[in-house]
Every structure is written in C-alpha cells, then in structure tokens.
Symmetry: C2
Subunit: 385 residues, 2 copies
C-alpha cells in the first residue's frame, strides 16, 4: 500500500445557513479545498462524501452524484458513505484506501449535512440509534448520553461541574475560530444554570444542530512532496463497530468501538498516546469527550474529568483537545464533522491556526463517532517538511 | 493492486417479506454467503453494505453498524454506501478496492432494502432524482423513464410492443429462479393490456417494490485458488456519475454514465462487448434495459429493441441478458440489486444455475444504475478453474 497525504483542505462556516442549499454547501467546501491544494477539478479522479441522512433532512438521496455534479467534478466515480455522525471519518478512510491501493491519485473526501431545512432534527438524529429497541420506546440522543454520563458519575465520581469545564474549554478554543457556529466564550455559571435537556446534561453540554460542509484532498505522499509543501501523511487508520443499542453493551461508562479503532490506529502508526500532540475528539456531548479521551488512552479511566479541570486538555495543556472548538462550539453538521476534524488538524500541523495554534505539533489524531458509539474511526496524521 | 475474486454468494428470496425485519434480511444473506464460501465469521475483516434509503423506508440509519452486529460480525470495520439504486454496485466496488489495496483479505459486500415497511415507496424512491428541480414539480420515476422511452421511440422508432418483449423475456428467465419475486411467465398481451403507469410504460414495464438482501465475499485471487474452487476474478471495474436531473443531459435517449462506466470496465479487463458471455443490466423499466445494452456496446444505438424481439438477449441468444429474471421478474429491493446481480453471475460462471444455465460462460458483466442514470457501476467477472 502507498503512503497517502492530505494536500488540501476547505470548509464552510458552520451554523444555521438557511440561504445555502445542501449542494451549494458541498460545492463551496470542495472549491476551497481544491484552491488550497492547487489542483484542478479535472485532476480529481474519485470522491467520497460522508452524510448521515440527507434523505430525512432534505428529501435527497443519490447524494454523491448530485454533489459531484454541482461541484463541477462529474463524471468521476463518487460514493456517498454513511455511518451516522461518523460518516465523515468513514469517507476519509475510504478515500485513503483508494489512494493507498494505487487505483487513483487524487481523491476528494468530503462531508456535508444540512440539518436546518424544516425537518424534525430530533427524529432524524434518532435514526442513528436502534429504531426497534431504543427509539420506539422514546429515547433520544441527549437521553442516551445522559445514561452514559450517569454511569460514568456512578462508577468514577465524575461531577456535573467537571462536565461543564469541557464546554467552557471548547468555547474558549472556538472563540478563536471564525468558522465556528458559536465563537463565543462562556463561563461555568452559564453551563450550570442552562435549561436541563436530559439530566445531568443541560443545553450547554449538547452540541448544536448545524449546517455545513468540509472537504480534504488526498494524494500519494510522493506527489505531496513534489508540490513542495509540508507533507501531512496519514500514519494510522482505525475503524470499528459495536452494537448500536446501549443495552447490548457491558459497561455504559465505556465505548469499546473507540478503543478498538484507536488501538488499530496506534498499531498502524507505531505510536502511543503520549506521542500525540493534539487531538480532535467527538464531543457531541460533554461526557462523550471525557469517555473518548479515556478510551484513546490519554488518561486512565475516570481521570479525564479532573484532568480537564486542571487544564490538561487546554491549548497549553499536555494534550490540547478540540482546538477547533469541537462539536460543541464549532458546530456539528453530522456528516461533515469527521472531515472538519481533519481540516483543523492539517491547519494546526502546518501552522495555520493563528490564535489557537498549538506549538510545533508533529502528530495529531482525529476521532469521529457514530450514534452512541456504535461506530468510530480514528486517524493519526504526521507532518514532515 | 492485487487480483480479487468472489469466493462466496448468498441472497434471500426477493418479494414482500412482511415478516422479516431489515436487519434479519441482511443477516440471512450474509450467513448464506459465508456458508457458501466456507469461511468463518471471525475471518471477515471488513464489510460494505449498499442501501439506498433505510432512513426513509425504515427510520434506521447507522446501518452498517447495526447490520454487522446482527450478522455476528462486530467489531469489524463496516461502511454503508449509497448511490440510490446503484448502492449495491458501489458496495461491490468499495470491497474490491479494500482487498485489492492489501488492507484486508476477506471483505463482505452486501446490499439490502426493505421497501414494504409502511413508508410511501414512490416518495422514498423519488429522492434518487433531483428534489429541487424535478421532484418538487411532480415527477416520479415512472415519469422520468417514460420521457426516456418517448425520446428513444422518437429518435429510433422503438415501439411499445418491442418494450413489451423485454418484460416477456425477463419473466421467462425469472420463472426458473426460485428466489424471484414474480417467478411466472407472462405473454405480450398481458404487458400490452396492463394498466398504464406513465405512457408508454404500463405496469409490466416497471420493476416492483421489493424486500430482500444479497451478500458476496471477496478475497485475494490467490486465496481463492487455494480453496480449490473455480476462481471468479474481478477483471474490470467501472464507476461513473452524471447530472441526476434529466434536463441537464444532452440526449434523453442515452445514459452517458453507463457508457463511461462500461468503457472503464472494458479497458481494465482488456475485453470487448463481443467477448462477454452473459450480462445482468439494470432493467428498472423495460426501456432501461434497451438503453443500457446500447450504451454497453452490445448493439448499435436504436437496435437493441429489434434484437430483443429476435431473441438475441434470450437464454440461447448471442448475449443472454438478465438470466436471473432481472429487476422486472426477480424483484428490485434497490440497495440489494447490484449485489444480487453478482450472485447471479457467479452462479452462472460456476455452473449452478440449473434450468436457466448459460452454456459454459467465461466472462460475465453486471451493470447497476442509480436513479435515471445519474450514476452507474459496471463489473466484469471471469471464471477459471
């Protein structure tokens, strides 16, 4: 298999983008990405688009074909992939495989979701859970993650105040990201006094409903070197699944698919958690960030909460987490999230992150998750000049 | 890239399967496939599932994770791919790439759709067309293909009687297929006197609304040889896209994405149309079979209709087409169709098709199409003992 690099990134602002149709969001991100890469549309040979449920949100399937057409890329091979909120991460993995195989040189990996389009977002998102055994009985995603949070509190003594620190940290980073949906700092009182959604998770423990798109261009590492830019190589890739229903798992305070995907990525890359310089994790809810950090080995189980309060995951901490603002502050157009994480990491690794820049990072990780953890991808990127 | 072979196939009966949930359909096909391959569940490393719109039909996304779990394959990497009615073909291509790359040895490619589950099938299927510029104005799929038929009639003199011969031929084959939804012969009068759906397409010019699943297992060709069975190698793969809205195309009597995908597959395989011994094409409507046969080079433009009447596409003809009964007689659970085509070809190439067996075929082609031709895959398989 060939070494593969990311040679260009692009994304829209995330937010309530009522004036932008689904197809325009993707076309904008793809155009930005190709400009950044310095590659012509005619050079792109294949594309993968992550999207969770344009069928339910927008009444539009056959998605890769229409997005490819409006991005000016037809008649290339184009594949839409879906793994709920991990759709972007899975699109990135698919694009990596196609370049690694030697079948294509320039492959676009994109993600898009337009959640503000009139549909019932709570219902649309619930389709990432088990319809027959969870959703029919009234559970929604805040409810599922609230159960994970309660289990974590019970087992490890995690507190509501500690969860609130995750949101405060994410907004502090997101306030420096012009593309964030909520680029505003918040304080502990705001989080703790917010309306309760599903106890113990209040409004500021939850990521928002968002529109947006992101795209990255992959090419053989040799080609990236020839372009004379820093080479951001995909060093490790992990992808795992699990039962999507919470009641089928042994321990509600853990998410095994994240650990499995992380272990694969670490093994392929030949690195350990302490080698990683920054990480974007899937903080759809504050509790998710803590559990994922523990599954990925950044902290022992039950210790991510206290470490967050101590500042270990801040910009100046031992492992800066969600420098983009994360899903919480940057926004969470579900199919785009996994690709937007890669955009953030590539910009950080190439020193383009301005006020939220981490100092001289070499290794970065993106962890993207579907539903309540029924699927997860983990990618490790390495920059070399 | 490594040579890749299909080492096992399985599928459910197609039909109105009200007693089988979506997840059970896939689990049944996957189990049959692994039994046929003689491979244990624990040996499967990755899976791709084609499904058009389980979100709209069944309220279930996050599909690959849940299907993998119920098939007993977790925690492997599993990816759902969507390209409307070409979802199965795209899943097959993705699985081929993963084995060809060297990343995995045993990869499952499946397809599933449960269309009889209470949802409005006409609306669900319409999401394969352009929502904003076609569907909002009232067009449905029979209407879109009726426009293609009218254009073909106008340009080439194709007649309604000739279209009817396609359906009669498909049902003649399907009557020999126990897994077909409608395993019954029909005659010309039945087709011509059926209720009109969208002129000139009557009820028997249209494929049905179906439930079903299919699965095939891919492995390196070397591994297939070691198993001591006939080796069915993937010799060519093509995948192309186009505008999904009919009004964006130059000629309604042609479907360029099919020609582009076919040209890619022929070039990769190093073969020509006259080398192909049998072909499964995407006959969602009778007119689609004729246009696809012309795009794939089996007949000059405008001549597929007369050739069908002459028997050229029958079991004893120069190019047997849709020996399975095709989408028309076998049924069309849209996400499963592309994989079910591969099942038919592998069984034909290995001499397992009983009364509908083609004599000593060596090369076979599957063409799977999304929407009104906004995407298409073409695969060429070769058997060697």
């Amino acid at each position: 298999m060939r070494d593969v690099a990311v040679i260009g990134v692009g994304m829209t602002k995330f937010g309530e983008l009522w004036r932008s149709p689904l197809r325009d969001l993707f076309a904008e991100a793809a155009a930005d990405c190709l400009t950044d890469a310095g590659i012509e549309r005619s050079q792109v040979q294949s594309a993968y688009m992550g999207c969770m449920t344009s069928g339910l949100f927008n009444g539009q399937e056959h998605l890769a074909a229409i997005l490819t057409d409006y991005a000016g890329l037809s008649p290339i091979s184009a594949t839409r992939v879906e793994s709920a909120c991990a759709s972007g991460g899975v699109a990135f993995r698919s694009a990596w495989l196609e370049v690694a195989s030697g079948a294509s040189d320039f492959v676009l990996a994109g993600g898009v979701e337009k959640m503000n389009d009139g549909a019932d977002a709570t219902y649309c998102l619930s389709t990432a859970a088990d319809q027959e055994y969870e959703v029919y009985h009234g559970v929604t995603f805040p409810g599922l993650y609230a159960m994970i949070a309660r289990a974590h509190m019970h087992k490890y003594g995690t507190t509501r105040e500690q969860l609130a620190h995750v949101a405060v940290k994410s907004h502090r980073n997101g306030a420096q990201n012009a593309r964030a949906q909520f680029p505003t700092e918040i304080n502990l009182d705001t989080v703790l006094n917010a309306v309760m959604v599903a106890s113990p998770l209040g409004l500021f423990d939850c990521s928002p409903v968002s529109d947006g798109a992101a795209a990255v261009l992959l090419a053989p590492a040799e080609v990236a070197r020839d372009l004379g830019k820093p080479v951001v190589k995909i060093l490790g890739c992990g992808h795992a699944t699990d039962a999507i229903a919470l009641h089928d798992r042994q321990d509600l305070a853990s998410i095994p698919a994240v650990k499995a995907a992380g272990d694969q990525a670490y093994a392929m890359a030949g690195v350990k958690p302490q080698d990683i310089d920054l990480c974007e994790v899937h903080d759809c809810f504050t509790i998710a960030e803590l559990v994922c950090l523990e599954e990925l080995g950044f902290f022992p189980r039950g210790e991510a909460a206290a470490a967050t309060v101590d500042g270990a995951t801040g910009l100046e901490g031992t492992i800066p987490v969600n420098t983009s603002g994360g899903l919480k502050s940057k926004g969470h157009p579900v199919g785009a999230t996994g690709i937007a994480q890669i955009v953030e990491l590539v910009e950080q690794l190439t020193g383009r992150s301005a006020k939220r820049q981490v100092k001289n990072p070499r290794l970065a990780m993106a962890q993207n998750m579907g539903g309540s953890g029924g699927s997860s991808t983990v990618h490790i990127l390495e920059v070399s000049s």
